[in-house]
Amino acid sequence: MSESRISVKNLVKEYGPIKAVSDISFDVPAGSVFAFLGPNGAGKTTSIKMLTTLERPTSGRIVVNGFDPTRDPHKVRHSFGIVFQDPSLDDELTAYENLYFHAGLYGVPRAETPGRIAEMLDFVDLSDRKDHLVKTFSGGMKRRLEIARGLLHTPAILFLDEPTTGLDPQTRNHIWEYIKKLNKERGLTVFFTTHYMEEAERTADSVAIIDHGKIMKTGTPQSIMADTGTPTLEDAFIKLTGRSIREQEAGAIDHLRSMRNAWRGRRR
């Protein structure tokens, strides 16, 4: 058994009376690709926030790359790169500037920064667009740039929260190729969430299915399909989490997002 890159034990997160995450445990071996699956509101994003130092657990233990996010947040932050569910680039800056600023925030040695940026831009095929403003990029290009940015400080783990949502099949395939290549060539540990079950089935070494804040099942995609007696991971997922549709509450953020889109549309 290889060492764990991420280890979670009895993790709980409560918001008042609501248990967003109730007593989950799992391990992600170093160098593996791990898929964290669940319907909307199952507790995925809350779990990622705790793993990435953005939320403090109510109880339980997390070890990321050998460090505890509550005690050594900066060491944990150096250990991972992340691609958030929503874009987190600065649209008013160029691709190069986004990467350059990231390097500055992570304390990448300044002498190495230009070389590493060039390498990462080349890796995601954006070298020729490096001086273009990010607001001119397509959704897929933004995602690739975010992957490049997440890897700039050479982390041991890459978190991807629904990295392919809203992208066409071509771009999705492209992005998974990058990720698999990183995993194979650099031994990068990948932790991702997705709603596309076939992506998890094809890409992940191991899978955890979470619902109502609890882990329903962990294992390889094959073992989960065998255990549930289903032909695909999607069927297994439905069997484990039920057919009812989950509504997510729309908050101020969603409202603003739709406003921004309307406003952008008008500006064009």
Partner: protein, 254 residues
């Protein structure tokens, strides 16, 4: 690199980001010059004759420092809105998962916002020359110190408010509710020394009063308080707001 120089470099990076964005959005830069120019021309030439007939002297000399302070204040407070944008549209998260302390992030942002508001003030200062303002050139340096002080106070104020808000409409409403009375009761447009006593009390607790007074003292040699009082008050309030803003910012949930 060690942790301290890292922190300063990260602050510099966040500062640089705001400067770049400022120079890139020419429309915002030019657009926000409209209001001070209108105020200068309309009030300056409109009220000028009455002001001097009433024995107030040259109104442009009186008004120009007030308008410079106004444009700095409005730009500075509204730079808080960038925090709300960043929060809603992701970039803030990128900074919050970076190995940099929250206080350093807030500090870098505030310095960036204050610098852009300061530059806006410098542009307005130059415009006032064109309109006929004749300041004491020897005292332009202390004037710049006051301009930066005003920028710092109100950027920290805007950041503090923005740290507690999620939506932009709310921010706009709150900020206007606070900005307008602060502006009108600061002595920027008319002297308050002859106003009713309760207005003078309000002016005495208004940080902008000291900024306007210091600026006017330096540029036009007209002041109510002493320049040192103005200086100490402005920078103490700036320090206070930065601390409060840093505390509120560190409580932001991603």
């Amino acid at each position: 690199m060690n942790q301290t120089s890292n922190t300063f470099y990260a602050m510099y990076i966040l500062w640089l980001r705001q400067i770049k964005r400022y120079f890139r959005s020419k429309s915002r830069m030019i657009g926000s010059l409209g209001q001070p120019v209108v105020f200068l021309v309309a009030l300056g030439f409109g009220f000028g004759p009455i002001f001097s007939k009433a024995g107030g002297g040259n109104y442009i000399q009186f008004l120009a420092p007030g308008i410079i302070a106004m444009s700095i204040m409005f730009t500075a407070v509204f730079s808080g809105i960038e925090l709300i944008w960043d929060r809603q549209f992701g970039f803030l998260k990128e900074t919050l998962v970076a190995p940099v302390s929250r206080v350093a992030i807030m500090f870098g942002r505030t310095l960036g916002g204050a610098t852009t508001a300061f530059m806006q003030g410098v542009i307005v200062l130059i415009i006032t020359f064109v309109i006929g303002f004749r300041p004491d050139i020897a005292l332009v340096l202390p004037a710049l110190v006051f301009m930066f002080g005003i920028a710092l106070v109100f950027t920290a104020f805007g950041t503090a408010i923005a740290s507690t808000m999620e939506d932009m409409q709310g921010f706009g409403l709150i900020v206007n509710l606070v900005n307008m009375p602060l502006f009108f009761l600061s002595g920027a447009l008319f002297p308050l020394t002859t106003a009713p006593i309760w207005i003078q009390y309000i002016a005495d607790v208004n940080p902008l009063s000291y900024g306007v007074d210091g600026l006017r003292g330096a540029l036009a040699l007209l002041s109510t308080y002493s320049l040192w009082t103005d200086f100490v008050v402005v920078y103490c309030i700036a320090a206070l707001f930065v601390v409060v803003g840093g505390w509120l910012f560190s409580r932001i949930k991603a």
